[in-house]
Subunit: 316 residues, 2 copies
């Protein structure tokens, strides 16, 4: 009998689904808490992102199913116990975040902030010409679940999609052109809209720096739902003030929360949301995390390969 | 040699395209003015929506190409000269308006007005759970160019589309279910989102009245880009205050402009834009009107059937 501890905000239907995945497991649902080692010391499986400091001290731990798509702090953490299986929740966030990306782009393209302000002044005022997703060149930085789900939707709306990713072997139909990061500067020149869902890492840190921005030509809209470290806050502010970007929507900042005194708060043509596009904000996200977890518990109990397996770095 | 007068905001490339459509025509481009009869009295063709009072007095008029999709004031006007061909510009507005519908829906679903307000207060504040287009039941009232283009996009985003139109013979793939207006009340009950692009007419006047609203069950978002006469302003205000609609986006009001004193301006969860989703706000719209016009001039000069022909009512 395997002991499985979960750390998710589960409804009864979710618990049933998980528990039906294997008859040979005991589930203990602790909800969204940070547990003590004492609470989980007999765990064989953990579902949820609990601290590695605890994970590393669980003697019979065999498998950790994260609730996040990102694996920072786990796969790259030397304390993460070797020989423990690790899986992420990629596939759970694409729907929620891709719709938020579209919300940000369309809000900017159609001058919604101005119309909302005019409305508060009871003002019936035409804010002039608009641009469209249809016919635009969209540069998508990062083609994980989020980048792909967004690309599908923008492609269906008539955009031309250029995707940048590490491995460009398999081009989906909804991507017009696939490139590696070597082509970043060339592709920045052609973009009407730039969307990043890149994770935080050494290679993405301040990737959109001053030099990169000299290659931005078409006053694109910039969207960042990846990590705030992609672009320095001061550089973003300048890029908007100098109309290098005609507008921007960011759900991530550096640091988070964005300090009260940051100039970004009242930079024109910038929309900020407080890192809310993902998480459990959309029911569908949690449903998908549960589905992935249930499938993986079944696979794990039957000795099959788990899905979304992450090859964590071994620091021995 | 046919004389063709145009009343559109044409760029040089548009003039060239139109003039290349037939070698046997003389074009006179007057721009967006209201002409005198004297200015157009030798016209054989008019491109643009000029008053019927003038049209009826042009002796050799043969063909009127409207720049609008709607034909109110022309096809239903007893003064419109009989035996003059009439065509509309359906197909020109779908892209522009469908993107605005999505902008309105996503702005509401993702709490953008609250985040924009929080941002102005430098406030990093989570506004809680959101809903999605993915998986939602969308009721589309009116399946002309606008309703169809919107449906394509929402379907690609994972919505279930029910369309209501007069003729339900041909169901496109991107519509899950087609109904006639007889099913309106049944379909209102199931809708998470209601989108109307219905024209103004006797049959759509106050269609969403008190009785209809008793059939609205799921606190849907309501979008109106058709005509403001679809719903009485007081009824809309009450529907939002009583959470019959969880939110609404309207680009059309009754009357227009919306009076300064209207309660709608500061009704919660309502977004108002001043009848701007169409017009010439998007370049693509004008491009498409020119393409339709050029095709029709060619057809007309070659004695072929024109596209978008409108059967105007004969009042003889």
């Amino acid at each position: 009998m395997k002991k499985i501890y979960t750390f998710l905000p589960l409804k009864e239907e979710h618990k049933k689904l998980l528990e039906s995945s294997s008859s040979n497991c005991e589930f203990i649902h602790l909800g969204q808490i940070k547990p003590s080692l004492e609470q989980v010391k007999d765990a064989n499986v953990i579902i949820g992102n609990i601290p590695v400091d605890i994970l590393k001290n669980i003697p019979n731990l065999e498998f950790v199913q994260l609730n996040s798509a990102g694996t920072n702090g786990y796969s790259d953490n030397p304390d993460f116990p070797k020989n423990v299986l690790l899986a992420n929740a990629t596939g759970a966030y694409g729907v929620a975040i891709s719709e938020c990306i579209l919300a940000g782009i369309l809000t900017l393209l159609k001058h919604m902030p101005s119309y909302i302000l005019n409305q508060s002044n009871h003002e019936w005022k035409d804010e002039g010409s608009v641009k469209s997703i249809y016919g635009s060149n969209i540069l998508v930085l990062g083609l994980g679940d989020i980048g792909k789900e967004f690309s599908k939707r923008a492609y269906a709306m008539g955009a031309h999609i250029t995707g940048i990713k590490r491995n460009i072997k398999d081009k989906p139909d909804y991507i017009d052109k696939l490139c590696t990061m070597d082509s970043l500067y060339d592709e920045l020149e052609k973009a009407d809209i730039i969307v990043s869902s890149l994770p935080g890492s050494k290679s993405t840190y301040h990737l959109l720096g001053e030099e990169a921005l000299t290659h931005v030509k078409k006053q694109p809209i910039f969207v960042n739902v990846g990590r705030g470290t992609l672009i320095d806050s001061n550089i973003l502010e300048i890029a908007l003030k100098e109309n290098i970007f005609s507008g921007a929507y960011i759900d991530v900042t550096d640091p988070e929360p964005l300090p009260k005194a940051s100039n970004l708060w009242n930079t024109n043509n910038l929309i900020i949301t407080p890192h809310v596009t993902g998480g459990y904000h959309l029911d569908e996200t949690l449903n998908r995390i549960i589905q992935i977890s249930a499938t993986n518990i079944k696979n794990y109990c039957e000795g099959k390969e788990i899905m979304n397996k992450v090859n964590h770095v071994q620091f021995i």
